[in-house]
Structure formats: C-alpha cells, structure tokens
C-alpha cells in the first residue's frame, strides 16, 4: 500500500514540475516526455527522455523522470544511477533529493533514504512530502519518537482539506493504532475522512481502530463504506477479511461467512 501511495504522490509531485519549453531542444524533449508520462505512455516518454539526455546528459529533471520510468520497468540499477547522477549534477535539486529518498524508501533501504529526504526537507521546508516520507521511514526503522514528530510536522504543513492532507492523517492514524494509541489513531482517521470523505484507506483504518475499541457495529459500517470506494491502496480482500472478523464478533455468521468467501476468492497479492 505504501509503495502504491509513494508512486501516487510522486506522480502528483511530478505534475508540478518546471515551466514548459517552446523550442525543439533537449528541454522540449523533456516536456514531451513529461506529457507522455502523465498520459501513461511510458514507451514514448522513455524515448523522449532519452533524446533529452542524449543532448543534455546532466539535465536534472530529465534524469529524475528517467529514474521514475526505470523504476516502473523494474530497472532499479538504472533508476538509482540516474538519481545519483542528478544529485551529483545539482545537489540543491529538491526534486532529485526527494526522489532518491523515495527510491530508497520503496526499496526498503530505509537508512539510505533518510539523508536525501532530510536534504529535500532543508531545501524546501514548506513541502510536506519529504517530511511525510521521513515520518514513514523513521517508522520503518522503528524510531517511534522521530516518526511521530515528522508525522506531526507533515500534518501541519499540509493543506487541511486536501487529499494529500488526508493521506498524511491516514498514515499518522495507522501508526498510532499500531502503537496501541487507539483513541488518537481513531481521531486522526476521523479527521482524514473529514478532509477526504472518499478515502478508502481512511475508512478502512477507522474501521480497524473501532475494532480495537470493540465498537464492532460502527467498525463494520466504516468497512462497508470503504468497500464502496475506489480501490487504490487498501484492497477488497483486506476489507473482506476485516468484515468477516467483525461480523463474527457481531454474531452474524452469515455475513461473516459471505465476506470470508469473498476474501478467499479475491486474488492474493503475496509474491515471491
């Protein structure tokens, strides 16, 4: 889920990149690549970005875009090389630093992720994304206090009623639930739903929090609501699994059985 979220956020961040160029030039090739990427025409984007880098091998935004395309193609070695080249060419590129941190984060290389994310944060102190990833990275390495601090910072930096703000609240709430701070976690998830009523992740996490509070009835309501929302992070299978447990606790065996069957019929994502 976090990986997908990382991709979504990174994708969103890329939409806000630099100004368009108007001549046929490396910059124009880059612009074309960016456009193709946004339209999910990845082969075309790769071709354009290669053209840009052929003429201008140290064009940092093009290197970052190339890295992201390489990641999608599972060419992690290429992605890493591009990002390291980019920050070598311009250590003050917040974008390159952020994506290098993001790259390491998605590869579970958490200790390596922290320095570039910290640099990105320093370069752009009002951007919630580097702070948010620092929070998740510190969570992943088990540094609870730092993670909580960064989650709070990210929350403060994000716009209150935005999808991005909701995602940060969801992650913060999930972490609090994991720590057994159920009330605080539930409160975050409620705020996430206020910010983005259609956040499936928020409804799912709220359901889990209410489950911990033994409020099975309302937990089931939230989980049922989550099922109706578009599937991005939390899968249908996860929700059916939770609902099956909730209905069992609510002594509604038919519903529990129905969700269990749906859970078991849903494709499992486990890979090896």
């Amino acid at each position: 889920m976090i990986w997908l979220f990382a991709f979504q956020l990174a994708f969103g961040a890329a939409q806000a990149l630099g100004p368009a160029q108007y001549a046929v030039s490396p910059a124009q090739h880059y612009e074309n690549a960016k456009q193709d990427f946004a339209e999910r025409k990845f082969a075309e984007a790769d071709s354009e970005v290669n053209a840009a880098l052929h003429s201008s091998p140290y064009m940092v935004p093009a290197l970052v875009l190339k890295a992201r395309l390489a990641t999608l193609a599972h060419r992690l070695d290429v992605a890493k090389n591009c990002l390291i080249t980019a920050i070598t060419a311009d250590p003050k590129s917040e974008e390159a630093q952020f994506f290098l941190g993001l790259f390491y984060y998605t590869q579970n290389e958490f200790k390596l992720a922290i320095p570039p994310l910290e640099t990105a944060q320093t370069l752009s102190p009002k951007n919630p994304l580097p702070v948010f990833y620092l929070a998740m990275t510190h969570e992943a390495v088990g540094d609870v206090n730092k993670a909580l601090d960064f989650y709070r910072q990210a929350e403060n930096l994000s716009a209150e009623k935005s999808a991005q703000g909701a995602e940060i609240l969801v992650a913060h709430g999930r972490f609090l639930l994991l720590l057994g701070r159920t009330e605080e976690g539930v409160e975050k998830e409620r705020r996430a739903i206020e910010a983005d009523p259609d956040s499936r992740d928020a409804h799912y996490q709220l359901a889990k929090g209410l489950d911990h509070q033994e409020d099975y009835k309302n937990a089931a309501v939230e989980a049922e609501r989550a099922l109706t929302l578009p599937q991005l992070g939390t899968s249908d299978a996860q929700i059916h699994f939770l609902l099956s447990n909730l209905y069992r606790k609510l002594n509604q065996p038919d519903l529990a059985k129905a969700h269990l069957e749906k859970f078991q019929a849903a494709p499992q994502e486990t890979q090896r």
């Binding site: 599972h74 992690l76 070695d77 579970n108 290389e109 958490f110 969570e139 992943a140 390495v141 088990g142 994991l178 720590l179 057994g180 299978a237 996860q238 059916h240 699994f241 939770l242 447990n245 069992r248 269990l260 859970f263 499992q268 994502e269 486990t270 890979q271 090896r272």
Partner: protein, 558 residues
Amino acid sequence: MPLHGAGQNRPSTGQSPDSPILFENTIGASKIDFVLKNSVSPQRYSIETMTGGVALFDYNNDGLLDIFFTNGAEIPSLQKSNPSFHNRLFRNNGDGTFTDVTEKAGLAGAGYAMGVAAGDYDNDGFVDLYLAGFNRNQLFHNNGDGTFSDVTEKAGVSGSLPGGRKPWSVTAGWIDYNNDGRLDLFVVNYLDYSISTAHSCQTDNIVDYCSPNEYRGTANILYRNNGDGTFTDVSQQSHISQYVGKGMGVAFADYDNDGFTDIFVSNDTFPNFLLHNNGDGTFTDVALLAGVAYNDNGKTVAGMGTDFRDIDNDGRPDIFHAAMFGDTFPLYRNAGNGEFEDVTGKTGIAAMTNRLTAWGAGIFDFDNDGNKDIFVAGSAILDNAMEVNHKPYPLPNGLYRNLGKMKFQDVSAQAGAGFFASAAHRGAAFGDINNDGKIDIVTTVLNGKPQLLINRSPNHNHWIILNLVGVSDNRDGLGTKVKITTASGAQYNQATTAVGYNSSSDKRVYFGLGNATVVDRIELAWPTGVKQQLTNVMADQILTVVETGPPQKAGAPK
C-alpha cells in the same frame, strides 16, 4: 495445576540491559569438516535453495549434544553420488571439538535430504532420526551402540501421498498427539514438484528459482506410532490430509491448554495452518478464526521457520515465524480465548525484520534474563539475487532481544562478528553444546561451512536446564508443559524438538533465571496427564527429571 498464567509480564530480573548477548563462531576450531551441497544447476530447480537441516541431540547419551547435518545430492539423479553429499553426524568430544562418526553410525543417507527430526520413537532411551527429503524420507533407528539402522520401510514412514506419489518433504516433527506415551510423526510437505516436469522461471531473462505460486501445494502426513516399531498413516482419519498447503516449518504446543498438543504449520505464500487437536484423533485447522492464517492486513507471507512458545510469560504459547524481505516476520500473541493478536508492529519486530529474509528461527532466552528472545537465520532465496533484484544473497543472522512487556530490541550487530557475518543461512538448531547454561546455535550455510555459534554472553544470570525422562509418557518427555516459579515470577516452556526450519533442537527445557539462585517450584504437566512438582531447586544445573506419579489417561485415544 493451571499452567496458564494470568497475562502478566515478568518483572525485571535486575540484569543490566546493556549486558550484551554475544556469540563466537567456533567452527574453525571445532574440527567439523562439512560443506552443505545443493548442486546448483543452470535450470535452478527449486529444491536447490531449500536444503540445510541440522539437529542437536545426544545420540550416545554421554550428556553432550552432538550435531547432525542433512545434505543435498546430485541433480537430476538425486543420488548421493560421492561422499561430499553424505549427511554427517559429528560426535561432541566435550572440548570444543567434534569427530565425524557418520560412517560408523551408518547415517550417510540417500537422496536429496532437507529436514531432520530427532526423537526416541521406541522409548528405548536412544534418540532416533527421521529425515525429510525430496521424494525420499528415511527413519534411522538408534541401536544404542553408536550405530543406526535404516528402518524406513519396516516402520512404514517412507512418505507417500494419495496415489502413491512421493512428496517433497521439507521437515518433520515428533509429537505425541494422542497422549498414549509414544511419539507420533508429523511430516511437512511443500510443493507438488518433480524435476522431470519442472519449468524454468526467469526475471528479465535471468533464470531464477520459481515462486511457489507456480506450483500446487501438497498435504502433510501424520503417522501414528503403533508401539511395535511400525507406524500407521492416519492423515486421512485425522483430517490432516484435508489441508493442502505449502509447508515450511512446524512447531507444537498446546495453545488452548486442553491437554492435547496442537500443530502450527507455516506455509509459503499460503495461509498458515493451526491444527487444533480435537482430542479424539482428529485435527481441525482453526488458523483463520484464531488469527494466524494471515497477518493483520489479511495477507499471506512467505512463511519460513517457526517456533511456538510462550514469549511473554503469561503461560500461553505464542507463535513466531520468519518470512521474506518486505513481509516483516509475524509474531502472534496468544490472547487466551482461542485467538491470537498480530503484535508484529507494536512489539517493534516489524521494523526490525522488514529488510530481512530468514529461514531458521527460534524463541530462546539467550541471555538468561527470564525473557525469551528471538533468533532468525538470514539469507535471500535466490543465489543470484543481486543479478535478479539487486539485493544481496548472503544476509546476517538476526537477534531480537526481549526487553519485557512485549518490546524487543535489535541486537544483531552487537552479537559478535561471527554472528553477524552475512551468509546463505538455512536451518538453525538450538541447545547448550558445552553445558555452560547458555544456549548455543548451529546454523547451516548453503554451499558453505556451518556456523557453530557458542554463546559467550558475559552476564552472570542464573539458569536451569531440565532433562526430562518419561516413564509412562514418551521417553523424551516431548509435549510436557513446564512452569517454574522464582522470586521474580513465573515462566513457562515446553519440551519439543520441532523448532525453526529443516531442523531439530535439543529436547531439554531451558529457563533463564536472572538473579534468582533458587527455583521455588517446578511444575510439570506430562502429556498423558501425569502432574509432577519439585520445590526449592538450586539454579545453575542440568537437572534430570524422571516422570513420577500416577498416569491419568482419561479420554486419551489410542
């Protein structure tokens, strides 16, 4: 005697939290000359990455743990075509060295071996060995004179599935499931796989080991001990054969304290099994309802080696198993109502294990502070992992120190250079090899020498090791539940050799006592129902406890 506690966490023992857990790899000085061979092929047959069992057991009753290693074979013939493929038994000389006694013992074996299970199935006082392997399992009876005899056919435990097919058995374990005083045998099977029909898998045109998702699973096997040297396959009547999985690890404990030992099987990318012993000779998989089939997010993981032991001193056996990079290694806390809680995140285990793949695993108190710690033997699965997914193949071992109150600390990097050295680890067995009261570890290394990790932790904590001798029960006392009480509180453990991956650990029951020099009370609940109690027992000894007391076999089926 209620052997389930009240959910308390044991109070501090006064041991300094800074006192390290230290291991020294003494394989170089041990005179153990063994390399685990898997016959890696260009086709990357899946069996190649799966072997590497080790057993710690005292084959000659001299009070010292000896070491047995399984070994691979030539591929595709699956023959141990030369001595480098032989399984190996090393006798403990008691001075840190070992002598290879394989030939005299007659334990070279046949076929492509994987796992090993040690247990005295005929109650003659000498521990026997069962070997699980690809298409071939073997039972070796310990003759008591330093030799073993292959009694597989006579005993009827060669391993076969409905239709007569030979399974790919990964491991096995000895369990007295029907409380009749005789050890029965549970065999864990993996994929429905054959060399002749195996297909090749590739990532970016590089041949690698196939995911288990490419193959169907197989059912496990339960053999009931007839008491005359033979066994009966009761997989069907016990309902074990109903549950088709992709088994990797097995561990036993009576999780609901109903007097019958239950079975946990960790499955690879497949829901785990918690086989509840119904007490009438049948089992029911309750993993889903108990909350151990999937993790908290409803996902299966690549289950590897496992252990089933009370980790929070509340008297209820908890479940841990290793898994793969990105999975995190699940720790399920027994909540006491037939349900388990996934506490992987809140204990800190998730953060410590999310970047590791591991095989062997065990829950033992390595610093004798009264809180059981967790060990895992790290290694990626693909020997060409760097080529395929840019991640290293050899990985270090992991050691997670139990700080009490269900919090853990990753102390792997401080546990000694030999401990933390990256390698292609596979199985791990646990036991006190030099009888100094500290638990040692032997790990296997694919295409390498094993690690003999002698516990050199500098603490002065006290300990007690119980060597159980069953009389009306099975001679090894496997399945016996033990509760001890000291001034610091109560602790719980049980006798079992089924621990981790491919491997078999010392049958003795270990307790770390912290600063307690006396055990106020030791309470034993033997599988047949015999209760036994000892009081005011001095610490720092290996105590042989012979079963006494009237057997209470009410309701125990034969």
